[in-house]
């Protein structure tokens, strides 16, 4: 993976409440970083690939989306898919004291609008 992708990962891990992050490319290559021992890279990689499948099915359903949020009982899973089919997935804590939702939203928007970068 190139430096820019790694920069996105590094930036995402500095956001409050982020437990783990991953980027993926259209060729299914995934890069993972985790801040929590409970979020092991192989499981995160698998989750991100599953999310990529969801974007494909949403297009098939005529429900094109650039943003997905899975609200689980203990954590949220945000995924963004850019026009160049690169994606970013973030696992976020559900502890409101740890999370700044607006900051995460801004970060995801920034990633989403950065399409076309290498």
């Amino acid at each position: 993976m190139n430096a820019t992708t790694n920069q996105w990962l590094d930036k995402s891990l500095r956001l409050p409440g982020v437990l783990a992050a991953a980027t993926y490319r259209s060729d299914s290559a995934v890069t993972v970083q985790s801040l929590s021992p409970d979020f092991e890279p192989p499981a995160i990689e698998h989750a991100v690939k599953c999310a990529a499948d969801v974007f494909a099915v949403l297009r098939f359903q005529q429900l094109p989306a650039e943003w997905l949020r899975w609200e689980f009982e203990k954590a949220s899973f945000y995924c963004v898919c850019r026009n160049d089919q690169r994606g970013l997935g973030l696992f976020i804590s559900k502890d409101p004291r740890q999370v700044n939702a607006a900051e995460i939203e801004r970060f995801l928007t920034e990633f989403s609008h950065s399409g076309g970068e290498k």
Partner: protein, 372 residues
């Protein structure tokens, strides 16, 4: 290395390829995988019923029963079976259709023999990450009489399918894999078959074949099932619906729970008092947008429509809910996430919110409109 118990079945009408697959996958797995092959869906079905297959790899383009048709059938009959599609010419549209129909992977056939190693690697990874055991929240259609009929016809069997729902009942006669006769009350032939196949909440029972007193049907079973589905959708539209208001309130509430990102309330919702951030993809230059509900679908965990409003493709949406619940289970595998509460999608034009609960699944689609 892959676990010893992996039993894999390849289905492809190209028997030469099946021979190659048997050899290369066996090598890559160091003989740890037990490999089965079948040239068509009929043979595959009998292997699936007799062997404890964990992983099924299907060629997409097969004559008679295509890989996609086979996938849809298996999704209900074998929901925990891992299904993978292999195709010579991949397309985004087909990929979406196959994933939605229950395929875990959609892979392109390699052009060179060495390419099978990466196929093996993808299959091994899939086996490793397959969640086992029933999920607590799933939309998963029960095996219905349509599936039973399809299985009997595919396998070329002869039997009598007895169908009943409350006081209504009847019989569908299958001879050598063809539907030859149907009867319910005064109705006979195709009309009787449509009536029986469209019954809501019906139960069915298979009996040994006994010759019918007449042969009234010569339409293919595929055409019969298609027509019966259309007939059922028509009947549903004619039935009186539950009042719209409670469902719309549920939908508005579901959208309202995610208001922090939209900057405006859904219909029937009070404006939030929080400092709001525009949604990703909805630029800050469009802060005055509010979600207008355009579609609502509520269904049971068994995939029966409980309520729909402006949902033109209920069947397709239920497939989507089935797919989402399957993916949620897979995403949660190996991660401390707990149960799924909600899935939200956001696009340039609108968003969807889905909640899959133990008693029902709710799907809401809303479009962003300018606040007046």
């Amino acid at each position: 290395m892959a676990e010893k118990w992996t039993k894999i079945l390849f289905v492809d009408d190209d028997t030469q390829l099946l021979g190659l697959l048997r050899q290369v996958i066996s090598n890559y797995s160091n003989d740890a995988w037990e490999i089965y092959t079948a040239p068509d869906a009929v043979d595959a079905l009998s292997i699936l019923q007799e062997q404890g297959i964990q992983l099924l790899v299907i060629d997409l383009h097969m004559p008679t029963v295509s890989g996609l048709q086979f996938l849809k059938l298996l999704q209900r009959r074998f929901p925990d079976l891992l299904k993978v599609i292999l195709t010579a010419d991949a397309s985004d549209q087909e990929r979406g259709a196959c994933l939605e129909a229950g395929a875990e992977l959609y892979l392109q056939k390699p052009q060179v023999e060495g390419g099978w190693r990466s196929i093996y690697a993808a299959l091994a990874e899939l086996v490793k990450f397959q969640p086992r055991g029933a999920g607590s929240q799933r939309v998963l259609r029960a095996v219905g009489m349509q599936d039973v009929l399809q299985m009997e016809c595919l396998a070329g069997k002869s039997s009598v399918l007895e169908v009943f729902s409350g006081p209504t009942g009847g019989k569908i006669f299958i001879e050598d894999g063809k539907v030859v006769h149907a009867v319910t009350g005064e109705l006979r032939g195709e009309e009787a078959a449509f009536h029986l196949l469209a019954l809501t909440g019906a139960e069915s029972r298979l009996h040994p074949f006994t010759p019918p007193d007449a042969q009234t049907i010569d339409t293919s079973w595929q055409a019969l099932l298609t027509e019966a589905a259309r007939w059922k959708a028509e009947q549903r539209r004619k039935e009186p619906q539950a009042p719209d208001q409670p469902a719309k309130a549920t939908a508005a509430q579901l959208l309202g729970e995610t208001e922090v990102r939209t900057g405006a309330p859904a219909e029937g919702q009070k404006p939030p008092k929080t400092g709001l951030t525009p949604a990703p993809g909805l630029a800050e230059s469009q802060p005055e947008l509010r979600p207008k509900i355009e579609e609502i679908l509520i269904c049971s965990p068994a995939g029966e429509v409980v309520y729909e409003w402006q949902c033109a493709q209920a069947e397709s949406r239920i497939n989507f809910l089935e797919f989402l619940s399957q993916k949620a289970r897979q995403i949660g595998h190996g991660l401390p996430l707990g149960h799924l509460e909600r899935v939200e999608t956001r696009g340039a034009d609108g968003r969807t919110v889905t909640r899959i609960g133990p008693e029902r699944a709710v799907f809401v689609r809303a479009r962003h409109v300018q606040e007046k």
